[in-house]
Symmetry: C2
Subunit: 489 residues, 2 copies
């Protein structure tokens, strides 16, 4: 893979001047065209130490409008980053639609460094690359122009470069001990990178390997790759996208939801039973931080199934200083300018904390599918993206509890009517509720699909028969307590 | 101040049930009315240890719609918080318009604790309270319903409460060593708090001191105070606000701007002079982190005065991995739902980093004043708020450089025409530029006022004669270098 970047390409001063003039007009034009679209630009600058990653990043700031372009360098994670899944830092620094970011170091850095210094085995390495692949595929489908540049130097050239830098007082500081450590491991590093690049060069986001010996060649090649990528994305964006349309599937006559026994009623001393589960949650949730864990409770369900009441009770058991309820409504414009999972990533709990989502990322495969707010291929791919998301959560130590609250259409009608009649409940009922009710079957079909496709051992769905509110609340509380007990030992 | 909260108020069960029913309808109604306005709710819950601050916070979550209300508890600051001004954490957790937050612990905690344990003197304590006062005044003017609750227990009651908690296995963990430390210093703590509360009880945001012995009385008093505060704010919001109007002041014939010598031209070897300053900035900026400092460069100026070019050159001298350009354009809807300084706070640099603002918080007293985007009283109070903001920056170790770039109207016209003619510059010129040009005098008057009112030793304005672009860029670079040298020694 790297042989073709060891052939001694160079550009003389005169040719450079000519090509730079053309490139700057071209790249600036492309950037401004992009600014008016829902596309974002993400340029990864990777490569061997000494290849000039930050010099290239600076060149982009020179050539493009710096008001629409950011350089992100990822050093040691901050404590806020350490206490969340690894990719949180990449999500939080994604540029919004119309803007760009040049990433010096990226999601490739940790796996490559760890593998080079044998801190992880080849299985873990490949797994990390799989995550990278899934993340990049999601980015591309979510309208990202993803350009991956790799600056290559041969072993000999790298040593020459380090010595050259060290010989000048003004640049000597740039060569660190770590650089020489890498240099010693050059052959191993090269092999690791080769595997990483081969495995992650896909049709939508291939790597561009650039010979970095001659700076003029390097910079031009980098700039031209970015300009070409933006132009071709803009061209592709002109084609009409497949039109979103409403989905009116019907659920199978027998499904996990139809088989739910809605006749469950709470009998006996309700208060006592409830208190017992509440105490369990209270005691267990206090141990989250000590165990290096955090908790996410995700609530979905039929309208008026009692999500709010269940959340309120749950909140009553957890130290309010450590819990937060995120009510998911229409996205803000900052959220709209990002991939749809972004607004859930931003609220992920730190160690020891709890986030309760009142409606969730499953909106993608429920309301967005049924109402046709996104194209069929978007919600169809969402199952896999969501599974990957929850896997990341679980791996980083988040305990994920997901609840679907189910009631019968008759009970829903009773509750709607009650809300209309009771002054302090009126706020809970809107036009939308009545509209959604008319699409009962389609919502049930979407829910059945969702439950089938996104139940994972590390993030299972708990289906709650919610016809009796008190029964439902008790089941939710008990399920959280059981889950915490299982996970916290 | 606290005597009136040591009189033995209590509420029996029956009265409690009656009053709670009324209160819940009332407070929920108030919350939902608030959700439709540009008001936000901030409830501070302070008080003596053992008074039940988190219990009261939980009560609000029970009584109100938890989808619009958040509980914030401020523990030890994270490293990201430590590396920014103290109030950053409060800014980043402010609720947006229409929503609320209950703060357990707040900007009062650090000063009160430090003073109680004699870590700061009375002068520093009063200074901290002054900052608090200014911050709260800003919040209130920026449409915040600020309710400050203080839960009081007498010395005797506090000890009784601690012992009661400790005697129960389920609650014993809630009494910490720190609680007993406070208890030992009760008298001193009481005195310190008395001073804090007296000094910060203003007409717009008074403290409500609540006797916290009887839990029913405590919770009702807290809830009723919040309901009343929202109701009266909603009532006040109905009055028509003073109408924003455009400001067409003329500048004095002789001003700091008219006296600027626009005839300055760069003579001699430009490149060499420039490089010398660039190297100074490069070397000095590398020392920021080691010295525990960060850098903010703020650019304002006449349209087409060359801000972009100057910023680009400056960026060429600073390690791109540590610098970020924030281009200030129309606020996003998340920004619009916050006090106007919020969107500048969110981008404050961490230790060692640099943020360059291309247009700044001074928009409040420039474009918003001239175009009438905010009411006159809003931009008039902004001078003081901005001064307080920059003082906080400077105190926390941020080096603040502010530049005003000035050109003549004739030069501006030449540049506009050049932009119209040159294809790759066309994006830089908009209808707005021509409109603003017609208001030249008003903008100059606003700039002259701004410079006069917001030049502080720790955040001085540097006025740049920008008729010759190269001269201007050199001056900017030199000013940054001088400032860094002065501050970093």
């Amino acid at each position: 893979m790297f042989e073709s970047a060891e052939v001694g390409r160079s550009v003389d001063k005169k040719e450079y001047a000519r090509r730079v003039a053309v490139l700057r007009t071209r790249i600036l034009k492309a950037q401004h065209a992009l600014a008016g679209t829902s596309l974002r630009l993400v340029v990864l600058v990777g490569g061997v130490e000494g290849g000039g990653k930050t010099e290239v990043a600076r060149r982009f700031l020179d050539w493009m409008d710096p008001r629409g372009l950011r350089v992100e360098a990822y050093g040691e994670p901050s404590d806020e980053e350490m206490e969340r899944p690894e990719y949180w830092r990449y999500w939080r620094t994604l540029p919004p639609a119309g803007r760009g970011a040049v990433l010096v170091g990226s999601w490739y850095t940790r796996p490559i460094v760890s593998r080079t210094f044998k801190k992880i085995g080849s299985g873990d390495f490949d797994q990390a690359l799989d995550r990278t692949l899934a993340f990049e595929a999601m980015l591309v489908r979510e309208k990202t122009v993803l350009v991956k540049l790799w600056l290559h130097l041969s072993k000999k050239e790298q040593r020459r470069r380090f010595k050259e830098l060290e010989s000048d007082r003004d640049t000597a500081w740039r060569v660190t001990k770590q650089d020489w450590d890498f240099s010693k491991k050059y052959d191993r590093f090269r092999g690791v990178c080769e595997r990483a690049l081969t495995k992650t060069s896909t049709a939508e986001s291939p790597w561009t390997v650039i010979e970095a010996v001659d700076r003029r060649h390097r910079d031009l090649a980098a700039g031209e790759a970015v300009a070409a990528a933006i132009e071709s994305a803009l061209e592709a964006a002109k084609k009409p996208a497949s039109k979103p349309r409403a989905d009116r599937s019907k659920p199978a006559p027998v499904s996990v939801l139809s088989r739910l026994d809605l006749g469950k009623r709470l009998v006996g001393d309700h208060a006592k039973k409830f208190e017992r589960q509440q105490t369990r949650v209270a005691l267990l949730s206090r141990r989250l931080r000590k165990k290096g864990r955090s908790l996410i409770c995700a609530f979905e369900g039929v309208d008026a199934a009692g999500k709010g009441g269940a959340i309120r009770r749950l909140l009553g058991a957890i130290d309010v200083r450590n819990a937060r309820v995120i009510a998911v409504a229409a996205p803000t414009d900052e959220e709209r300018a990002q991939p749809y999972l972004w607004r859930f990533w931003r609220h992920l709990p730190r160690l020891g904390k709890t986030t309760i989502y009142d409606r969730t990322w499953y909106g993608r495969v429920l309301v967005e599918r049924v109402e046709g707010f996104c194209a069929p291929e978007d919600w169809k791919r969402a199952y896999g993206e969501i599974a990957a998301f929850e896997e990341e959560l679980a791996e980083s130590g988040v305990i994920v509890c997901k609840f679907w609250l189910q009631i019968s259409p008759e009970e829903q009608l009773r509750r709607f009517q009650d809300r209309v009649k009771t002054p302090f409940k009126q706020y809970k009922i809107t036009e939308d509720d009545w509209r959604n009710r008319a699409k009962w079957d389609a919502y049930q079909a979407a829910a059945v699909d969702m439950i089938a496709k996104t139940s994972a051992p590390e993030a299972p769905w708990t289906l709650i028969a919610a016809e009796d509110k008190r029964w439902a609340r008790l089941q939710v509380m008990k399920a959280v307590a059981d889950r915490l007990e299982e996970e916290l030992g």
